[in-house]
Symmetry: C3
C-alpha cells in the first residue's frame, strides 16, 4: 500500500513522492463517504436505537446544570462565588430558584413529550402536565433541605475523621450521592421519565455510589467512603441507617429474560431504622427485612430476614498461613 519509491531519487522525484503521498492521503479521505453510507445503512436496515426524529430529547449537560444549581440552593454559599449575607440571601435564593424552575421545566416537557412519542401516545396535555410537575418538584425543595440536614448530622456522628459540617458538605461523596438521589427521587415520584436516572447516574459517575431514583430512603442516612454501593429500585430504607463502601442492596439471581418478567415487582430488601451495614456486604431479595437496630458485619452475603436488634457476623473464615519468606 506504500507508494513505491525508486532508489535513484532526484529532487524532482522527491516532489513526486510528496505528491504521491498527498494523493494517497486524499484517496484515503475519499473512502469516508462509503463509510458514512455503511453507517447510515446500518441504522436504516436493522432494529436500531438512533434518535432521529423531530422531537427533542433531554440534554445530559442541562440536567447536570440543574443538579449543580439545585445544590447551590440546598447549600447556599458553599458552591458559589457570590458572597452571601443576610441582605442578599433572599435575592440570591429567589433568583436561583426561578432559574432552576425554568431549566427543570424545559427538561421535563422534553422528557414527557419524548416518552409520549416513544409509546405512540398523543401529547395532549404534555405542556401543562410538565408545568404541574415542575411546580411540585420546586415545592419539594424545602423538605429536601430539611432531610439533608439530618444526613449531614448523621455523617458527623458516624465518622471519627471529621467534626466539620463544612468538610462533609464540601467533600463527602456519600452526601453528594444522597443529595442528588433525594432530588432525583422527587422527580421519580412524580413519574418524570428518564431525567431522574440521568441524575443518579451522574452521582454514580462522581462517587461510585449507585442509588436507583426509585429507592425509598428515610432521614439521617450516612454512606461512608461509598465506592461500589448499589441500592436497587425497590429498596426501602428507614431512618438513621448507615452503610459502608461496597454494600449491595440488590435482587436475587435473575433469569436470563429478567428484564421483561420482573419489572415493577419488589425485588430489593427492606432495611429498618437504626441499622448499620459494614463494608462489602450484600443483602438480596424483595422479601428480606433487616430488623430495626440490627448490625450486619462486613463481607456478609445475606438473603433472608433478620429480627430486630440482631448482630450478624461472618464466622471467622479459615485462613492458611505459610511461613518462610514469601516469594
Amino acid at each position: 500500500m506504500a507508494p513505491k519509491i525508486q532508489p535513484q531519487t532526484t529532487i524532482d522525484t522527491i516532489a513526486d513522492i510528496c505528491n504521491h503521498i498527498q494523493i494517497s492521503q486524499s484517496s484515503r479521505h475519499d473512502k469516508v463517504p462509503a463509510i458514512v453510507n455503511r453507517l447510515l445503512n446500518s441504522w436504516s436496515t436493522k432494529e436500531c436505537y438512533e434518535h432521529i426524529s423531530p422531537v427533542s430529547i433531554p440534554s445530559h449537560d442541562k440536567i447536570i446544570e440543574i443538579v449543580q444549581q439545585a445544590r447551590r440552593i440546598l447549600f447556599p454559599g458553599y458552591f458559589t462565588r457570590t458572597r452571601l449575607h443576610a441582605a442578599n440571601l433572599e435575592y440570591y435564593i429567589g433568583k436561583e430558584t426561578t432559574d432552576l424552575y425554568e431549566k427543570v421545566g424545559e427538561q421535563i416537557v422534553i422528557a414527557i413529550r419524548h416518552d409520549c412519542r416513544r409509546n405512540n401516545l398523543p401529547c395532549t396535555r404534555c405542556e401543562e402536565r410538565s408545568q404541574e410537575l415542575t411546580l411540585a418538584f420546586i415545592e419539594s425543595l424545602p423538605d429536601v433541605t430539611a432531610t439533608l440536614a439530618t444526613d449531614i448530622r448523621a455523617a458527623i456522628e458516624g465518622d471519627p475523621a471529621t467534626d466539620s459540617p463544612d468538610e462533609v458538605i464540601f467533600s463527602y461523596p456519600g452526601l453528594l450521592a444522597i443529595s442528588i438521589f433525594r432530588l432525583a427521587h422527587e422527580l421519580f415520584r412524580l413519574k418524570v421519565p428518564i431525567v431522574p436516572r440521568i441524575m443518579t447516574e451522574y452521582a454514580h459517575s462522581l462517587t461510585g455510589i449507585d442509588i436507583h431514583p426509585g429507592a425509598t430512603i428515610g432521614e439521617g442516612f450516612f454512606i461512608d467512603h461509598g465506592t461500589g454501593v448499589v441500592i436497587g429500585e425497590t429498596t426501602v430504607i428507614g431512618n438513621n441507617v448507615r452503610l459502608y463502601q461496597g454494600v449491595t442492596l440488590g435482587a436475587l439471581s435473575l433469569p436470563r429474560d429478567a428484564g421483561t418478567k420482573l419489572r415493577h415487582q419488589k425485588r430489593h430488601p427492606t432495611i429498618e431504622d437504626d441499622v448499620i451495614i459494614y463494608a462489602n456486604t450484600t443483602i438480596l431479595g424483595g422479601d428480606t427485612v433487616i430488623g430495626r437496630g440490627s448490625v450486619i458485619g462486613g463481607n456478609i452475603w445475606l438473603t433472608e430476614s433478620v429480627e430486630a436488634g440482631t448482630r450478624v457476623m461472618l464466622k471467622r473464615p479459615e485462613l492458611i498461613y505459610a511461613n518462610g519468606r514469601a516469594r
Copy 2:
C-alpha cells in the same frame, strides 16, 4: 387543575384558552416566593449548615486547579501543550511554581480564616501563618517528585500489562490517586484545614481510590486498578507495598456515636515494607500489623497481626456445583 374547556370552541375561545393557560402558568410562578420563604425559614429556624457569613470559603474549583497545576510541575511535559526543552524548562517550571504559590496561598488563608471563625478564635496571625504554610508546601515539591519517581517504577515492575512510564503517568489511576494524596498529605501535615480532604476526594471521584490525606505512606507504592480501595486516616504503610482493587485498610466496627469518641486515635492498620495485598481484601484495626514481606491473598478479612514473611490465603471455600443447563 386543568382549565375547563367548553366543547363548543370558537376561534375566540381558543384565544381564551391560551390566555387561561398563560395565567395558570404565571400563577404557578407566583408560588416561587412562598417556596423561597420556606427555604429561608428552614435555615433560620433549625440547626443548619448553610454558609452565610462575610468570611470566604475555600473554592472547589480553585483547589482542583491547584491539583492540576501541581501535576504539571511534578510531571513536566505530560499535561501541558507547551513544548518543553532544555532552554525553556526553567522558565516554564519557574512560572508554574510561582503561579501555584499564589493560588495555594489564597486557598490556605481562606481555609485558615474560615477555621478560626468556625472555632470562634481570633484571626490574629492567619495571613502570616498562611504564608509560612504555603512556603513549606512549595518547598516540599522536590521531595514529592522524588517519591513519585519510586511509585512509577513500582508500577512498571508490578504490572505485566505495561513497560512504559509514559503510560503509567498518562493513564494509571493508581498513580493519579497517589500523586494527589502525596500533595494533600503535605498540607495535612501542615495542619491546613479542609483543603487536603477536598483534594483527596477529588482523586476519589476520578479513580474510586479513597486515601485519607492523614495516612502515612512510604516509597514505591503501587495500586493496580484501584476501584474501591479505602485507606483510613491513621493507616501506616511502609516502602514497596502493592495493593489491588477493593482493598480496605479500615477501622474495626464502630459504635453508633463513633464520630465523637474515636477522633484522633489510631484506628487503622500498619502495613510494613514489601507487602502485597490482593483484590478485595479487608484489613481492620489500629493494632493490626502486617509484617514485612508478607503476601495477603484476595478476598480475605483480617483483624489481627501477621508475622513478617507470612503468606495468608483463604481456605478454599466450599462451592456447590449443579449441572444441567442452568436456567
Copy 3:
C-alpha cells in the same frame, strides 16, 4: 520566623510592620528559585520520567474529545444539540466522521512518533502508517455500531429496571464503558500505542469499570451497575455474557517482578457464550475456562475451569447471630 513587633506601636511603627510583612513575604517568594533549582536537579540527576523532548506527546484532552465525537457518531442524535432528521443526517454524520478522521489521525501520528523515539527507532514511515491505521479505525465504525446495538438489547433484556433503549444509551455506565472499550479495542488491534489505554482509563474514571483495551469481547455484552469490574488484558469473553458490579476477571497471584516476566502471556480467564457472573465474584488465571451457559453466583473466588452448563454457588457461609439490642 514571625517579625518581632515592639509593643509600643505608633502609626509609624504600624507602617513599619506592614513593610516588614511585605518584605518577609517577598523574601519568601525569593525562595522560589531555589525550589525550582531543586526540582530541575531532581530530574537531571536520577532516573526520571519527565517528558522533555522536541517530540509531541498524545493529549489527554484531545483523546477525550475523540471519544465524545465518536459517541455522537455511534449514537446519532443522543449527545448533540443538533436536531437530526432524514434530510440532514447524512451531512451531520459525514461532517462528524471527517472531523473525527482528522483528530484521530493527529493523535495516532503523535503516539507512533513518540513510541519510535522511546524505542530509539527511526521514524521512517510514521506519518504514512498513521494514515493507514486511522483509515482502518474509521472503517471499523459501522461494525462497532452494529455490535453496540446487540449490547443495548442485552441491557434491556437483562435489567428489570428499564424497558427503554434511550435510558440505556443516556445513562447506563455499562454501555458507556463498553462503547469506549469497543473503540479502544480497534486501536489496540491496530497496535496504536498509549491512545487505547488513555481511552479505557477515561471510561474507568467515569464508570468504575476497568476493561483493558486488549480484552476480546463478543456481542450482546451487559454489565449491570459495574463499579469495581476489572477485565484483564488477555481475557476472552464470548457472546451474550452478563456481569454484575465488582466482578474481577484477573490474573493469578503475581511474583514481585511480574511486570517483566509475564508480559504478553495469557494471564486472564476465558468466559464462553451465555454465561452470567453475579456481583463481586473473582475469576482468575489464564487457563480458567467458564463453560458455555454457566451461571456463577455472587461473592465467589474461582481459579479453575467449570464445564458448560454448570451452576456454581457458594456454600451458605456460617453466620453468627447475636441477639439483644446491638450496641
